[in-house]
Symmetry: C2
């Protein structure tokens, strides 16, 4: 067991002057705003690492090793793992340790249609509620998408697409819808590496976005819903095809 990234200690709340042997209390410049509890910070850090593929699906999460790496004890780390497990990002098998959750094609086949339904609803509500200002903001993001497609930058397209869907949710202003979609999106991030391979679909994807923007401008809620739903189902179809061609190899 050895870790290359030595400097990933989480931020302790300081003022701790008990003689504690092997626990340096360095705080790291690059760290996010203090989430106050180490377990909460660990949750966020682990989420980040999973999203960024520093921790890959299926990987074993050794408590002692991870705790050491984060500069905390096993207690808050375990609390973090339990929370991530409740979120579905981590699978815990009793007495046999925690692993980063894996996302099979079957899971995508289950999740995407649900997302299609929910995000379709978001689009519908957004079409009804969007102010001119909202539309301008969405147009702006859409323009950025166009830019990245032209540049062939899948990675940034993916991220901006994410932001776009986020912005749309803001417009729809339905906290619970946002919450449920957010939960599912966290899980879909586990298959991010696969989505990034869909460079060939960027153009189609963009066209669907154009159709969506069109519907939003026209305040055509039903069309917006249908377009968004279809957008996600097409995404799934592309992933399915990717899986099938990959399976042949």
């Amino acid at each position: 067991m050895q870790f290359t990234h030595i400097n990933s200690m989480l931020i302790r709340n300081m003022g701790n002057n008990r003689p504690r042997p092997a626990m340096s209390q360095k705080r790291r410049a690059s760290s996010r705003l203090n989430a106050s509890s180490l377990s909460q910070q660990a949750v966020e850090e682990l989420r980040r690492r999973i999203a960024s593929c520093q921790l890959v699906p299926g990987q074993r999460l050794d408590e002692a090793a991870l705790a050491a790496e984060l500069g905390i004890s096993r207690t808050p780390l375990r609390e973090a793992l339990k929370m991530l497990s409740a979120e579905g990002l981590v699978d815990i098998t009793p007495r046999r340790g925690a692993h980063v959750a894996e996302m099979a094609q079957d899971d995508l086949e289950g999740i995407f249609p649900i997302m299609a339904l929910l995000e379709g609803e978001v689009a519908r509500e957004a079409a009804q509620k969007a102010t001119p200002l909202d539309l301008r903001r969405l147009d702006q993001l859409h323009a950025t998408l166009e830019k990245y497609v032209a540049a062939g930058d899948v990675d940034r397209y993916y991220e901006t697409n994410y932001q776009f869907h986020d912005a749309l949710q803001q417009v729809a202003g339905n906290p619970w819808l946002q919450h449920v979609i957010g939960d599912l999106r966290k899980l879909l991030r586990l298959s991010r590496h696969r989505s990034l391979k869909l460079a060939g679909r960027m153009n189609d994807s963009l066209n669907e976005h154009r159709a969506l923007m069109d519907a939003l401008h026209k305040r055509d809620a039903e069309t917006a819903r249908r377009v968004m739903k279809r957008h996600l189902l097409e995404q799934l179809a592309a992933l399915r095809q990717l899986a099938e061609t990959a399976a042949e190899a």
Copy 2:
């Protein structure tokens, strides 16, 4: 701090012969099958207590007291609380303790339409897939519902209704849909006491169920979806009215 229910100790895995002073290791006859880890058992026990209103929304959850009550230490209890918090059943405010989550009318207004969408989808898929055997089982549950309406037994009606929706999900056979709906239903249980006050709606509710069964028998997926969706929105409307009349008092 004193507890009346003394005998609610969770099941330890035994074979523990270290001299541990004040920790009796009685196992309880009525306990569920051993979930192996105390934290997991605590999660289930707390979920149960919340669902059954032994722990009411807003109530403070004192770690030491609860741990003592369950006959475990704070470590697994805290892990349980973190999991419940990730599920949304418990709110944890850093350094200020955990409370049973509260469900405002606004939350119901957010959750029910989502449930309507998702359960509508369940009904649609179930209508397509139901075998004659499935239909017989559903008919059976429906008959039980009729019985409880006739008897005016809201409590049992509620439970059987729950089972009915569960059975329908089995028929639809969509694990992820089931999962998402399950998450939301756990939350809705927080307002169970309110739903139980809807005795007057039992008849309407039953009629909607009849219409659903009819659509299922006819394999009319689209009607099944619409009926189920409407069923849930009506439920919400009834709860809303209840809240309004209650607010006047």
